[in-house]
């Protein structure tokens, strides 16, 4: 809007005009940056808990047969603390090495069941099938069953990573 001859000269009016815009931009940034952090903050939070959750006694497990354990955990979502029941299949072949698997089907989140006769996990929703280690056998499942960290102390099984 200024004349071509005047563009390089910074007069008082031009300086104050630019300063006003600069301060305005600073204030806008002062609102925008905290607002974005505020909005996306909880989305970035990792929900992994590092606590060891006691599941039960290891001598309950038959060798080579995934056994279902249930545990109640406290989970905080936002400002609400919920009691949540989680189910975990624990497998051992020798009584020393243990594997803990989620019973949630990796396809769409239904619960899988251990079918004794066929020695396979079966998901009733879309016929997903996993073997005893939770590896894919057939069906629309995209990946093996999720594993959890597990440890055994004096016959007591603990898991974490839910």
């Amino acid at each position: 809007m200024t004349d071509a001859t005047q563009t390089n000269k910074l007069d008082r009016r031009g300086f104050l005009g630019t300063l006003t815009w600069a301060i305005g931009a600073l204030i806008a940034a002062g609102f925008t940056v905290p607002a974005l952090a505020y909005i996306i903050g909880p989305a970035l939070e990792q929900e992994q808990s590092d606590e060891w959750i006691p599941l039960g006694l290891s001598n309950k497990i038959e060798l080579g047969v995934p056994t279902l354990f249930k545990a109640t955990i406290e989970r905080q979502t936002g400002w609400i603390v919920n009691q949540e029941e989680i189910s975990v299949y624990v497998l051992t072949q020798d009584g020393r090495e243990f594997t803990a698997m989620s019973n949630i089907c990796t396809h769409l989140g239904c619960r899988v069941r251990w079918i004794e006769d066929r020695a396979q996990f079966f998901c009733p929703c879309h016929n997903g099938v996993f073997d005893q280690y939770g590896e894919i056998v057939s069906g629309p499942v995209p990946r093996a069953l999720d594993r959890f960290e597990i440890k055994v102390e004096e016959d007591q099984i603990f898991m974490r990573g839910a």
Partner: protein, 220 residues
């Protein structure tokens, strides 16, 4: 580049004349007290932005209101800042609105032809106090609860209709979940809608009539 976009939009929207009317209008030679209205407007914008942000996490129920406010203050990134701005901005709103009003009184700026600007301004002051009153309950802590208990009791003193006013404010005899929910609804829907409407008229009149000159000691 910016001027090309500006020209393109100007051709289609005619925004430049609006811009010039709003921001490049002539003002008389005045002092810093004449910025109090703009300061109030700025804080009002602050209240709108931070208030909208607070609704993302705040839940107006007795079991969750307090916890959700604590969550905002201690867990959410910059939550303390957003809440702090809204909290302190609320006090600043009342303060600035009153100071702005005092300036208008002392400089006689409410006189012809600016009476309607003054009327809407009085309405805006009432709305600001309404915001303060309803907003004070929302954190649902002891102070909020008892302040509203007392505040609604004060309204009860009104002759003849006091009992009704108390019941309408509380949504019943007691201060309950119903009270919290309706204070929230009034705070974030009723009052903002009324504020924007009145503020629109107020600012339209300021721009249309222009601001008053400083009063002279003697007639010239």
């Amino acid at each position: 580049m910016t001027s090309r976009i500006g020209n393109w939009l100007e051709e289609r929207m005619g925004w430049r004349s609006v811009w010039e009317t709003v921001f490049l209008r002539k003002v008389p030679k005045v002092n810093w007290f004449y910025t109090l209205g703009s300061a109030t407007l700025f804080v009002a914008l602050n209240q709108m932005i931070t208030g909208i942000l607070l609704t993302i996490y705040y839940v107006p129920t007795p079991t969750q209101a307090y916890d959700s406010v604590q969550y905002i203050t201690t867990q959410v990134p910059a939550g303390w800042l957003i809440r702090g701005l809204h909290h302190w901005g609320a006090s600043a709103m009342v303060l600035l609105t009153v100071l702005h009003m005092l300036r208008v009184i002392f400089y006689g700026a409410y006189k012809y032809p600016r009476e309607v600007t003054w009327f809407t301004g009085v309405g805006l002051l009432v709305l600001v106090l309404g915001f303060g009153f309803t907003g004070y309950l929302l954190p649902w802590d002891q102070k909020a609860f008892w302040a509203t208990t007392v505040g609604t009791r004060i309204a009860e003193v009104t002759p003849f209709v006091g009992d009704w006013i108390l019941r309408i404010m509380r949504g019943g005899e007691e201060l309950t979940a119903v009270t919290l929910a309706r204070f929230f609804g009034v705070h974030v829907w009723f009052l903002p809608a009324a504020l924007i409407a009145l503020l629109g008229v107020h600012l339209y009149l300021v721009i249309r009539i222009g601001i008053s000159n400083m009063p002279k000691r003697k007639e010239e």
